[in-house]
Symmetry: C2
DNA sequence: GTTCCGCATGAATCGATAG
DNA sequence: ACTATCGATTCATGCGGAA
């Protein structure tokens, strides 16, 4: 059966109500961060963020299968010299809503925004919060194991200090950094720290997160034919990756501009897939 | 003047009251994590953790200089399949107490303890929460600069060959000013992600952090002759590093065993320092 | 065809200036 | 006093043009 990619235009708070309950295997999304992207999303004030998000997370809880997982990519910004606390408040409120806060992965951004400030360094990481409905959920750990090829072994012998750090980021797109520990084995399990670069200047559009990010979580939490949902689709990275990986997906986007752009990209990609089968 | 290392035996909640207010430049500590290390510290239950810590953080707020910084190394453990929320609750409560939550650094542990669970990967990171009394605080960023990446290196190499000679002939015109800025800089500022290995050395303490961790923050937030405090001294890593870096320090430890061990180590080290001067 | 170099560009943050 | 906008700061990355 062909893979379905269902793209919908509208406010996810409303559109989500159209989806049946217990129908999604993985929700992977990166909502607009508080007080950012004002031009495109209207900007949610940090003080109002939790209040704004909770009705949406309630719908997400409804549509997620009991065995499914919700991965939320978010990072609080600095307000008045302090880190905002809305992400922590959101976690606490979502737990009251019925979510389990299972894990917090760290996305270590290799190329973060430059800048110099008197009392702060560059912010090089974001949160990837894992939420679940039940303690038992689907997780396919073997799918994200890091292969330890021969090249890694040979390169380890004569590594300069600079090469060491560079080498780490090349192994399996940033996973499995402790090379020397795992030399004896073929594959290693990753950790809860992901070391990836942002794809900053793509030709037509710049995605908020690199393809490797949704790809990793789709591998980890779904199998082929499963359903992936991104309620804040944006440039459609999650859905395109899902399609390429043989997963059905649903994407919701509030901006017509993004919606049409993703629609067009999907048509191109689906045509490619069709032709490759003929 | 000789560097003072003041080690005290007792419960820090009480001992801290002996210290004068506004007297400490940096507090760096790793308190017992909730419900962990039961054998050595009696284990604080996650539900009671905030309640237990707040009187201590109140004393810390009192003894810290207005220009000082408090760095708290902590990580919530997994309870019943979920991450505990006591760290987030602690941050929210400490802000009510008057602390500013300035930043959250990530310690990415290079070689974390191996292990495999059905629904979880190895935990390879810990939080380093930075709290301050004021928006203005002492920070010596140059002390922790790191070597630059490859791009800058290759660029520098090329600059020195093509543009350097031209620069010399036009001194004073301002033409080569940018170039000399680049030439002078072989180091870049770090980010808020620290990538350090854990030390697996056989210290008689269950959760020793590597020396590089306190060393980095002592460099960043203090100068020689400043005062560093670790209210949960443990094996005394913070104080030993401070001594080696020419900082005065105070350490408080509740266990006699640790207290005497650190006392002895300090005597040895101070004798070394004394003899090297003679 | 390779390799190399130049350049634009980011979920950023601060401080100053303006309404 | 309090919010909105703007310029300056700065580095890893990928692309396109050049050698």
């Amino acid at each position: 059966m062909a893979i379905q990619t269902d793209i919908r235009l509208g406010d996810c708070k409303e559109v989500l109500k159209e989806l049946p309950e217990n129908s999604v295997d993985l929700i992977f999304t990166s909502p607009p961060y508080a007080d950012q992207r004002k031009k495109t999303y209207g900007g949610i004030h940090p003080d109002k963020y939790v209040e704004w998000f909770l009705p949406i997370s309630a719908e997400l809880l409804r549509v997620l299968k009991p065995s499914g997982t919700f991965v939320l990519n978010i990072k609080e910004k600095v307000v008045n010299g302090e880190r905002s606390t809305y992400v922590m408040e959101l976690i606490l409120e979502m737990r009251k809503q019925g979510w389990l806060w299972t894990e917090e992965f760290i996305w270590h951004k290799k190329n973060c925004y430059p800048g110099k400030w008197p009392n702060r360094f560059r912010d090089a990481w974001e949160r990837l919060l894992q939420f679940n409905k039940n303690k038992k959920f689907n997780m396919y750990q073997e799918a994200v194991m890091v292969p330890m090829g021969d090249w890694a072994k040979s390169r380890l012998k004569n590594l300069s200090e600079t090469d060491k750090s560079r080498d780490e980021s090349k192994v399996g797109s940033g996973f499995g950094k402790n090379i020397s520990n795992w030399l004896a084995r073929d594959k290693a399990y990753p950790t809860n720290v992901l070391h990836l670069a942002t794809e900053c200047s793509n030709k037509n559009h710049s995605a908020a997160f690199p393809e490797a990010l949704p790809k990793w979580f789709i591998k980890l939490f779904t199998r082929e034919g499963d359903v992936v949902l991104d309620p804040f689709m944006g440039s459609g990275t999650t859905n395109l990756v899902a399609l390429n990986m043989g997963r059905n997906s649903i994407g919701i986007e509030i901006l017509e501009e993004h919606y049409h752009m993703v629609k067009q990209q999907l048509n191109t990609r689906q045509l490619q897939l069709f032709e490759s089968k003929v």
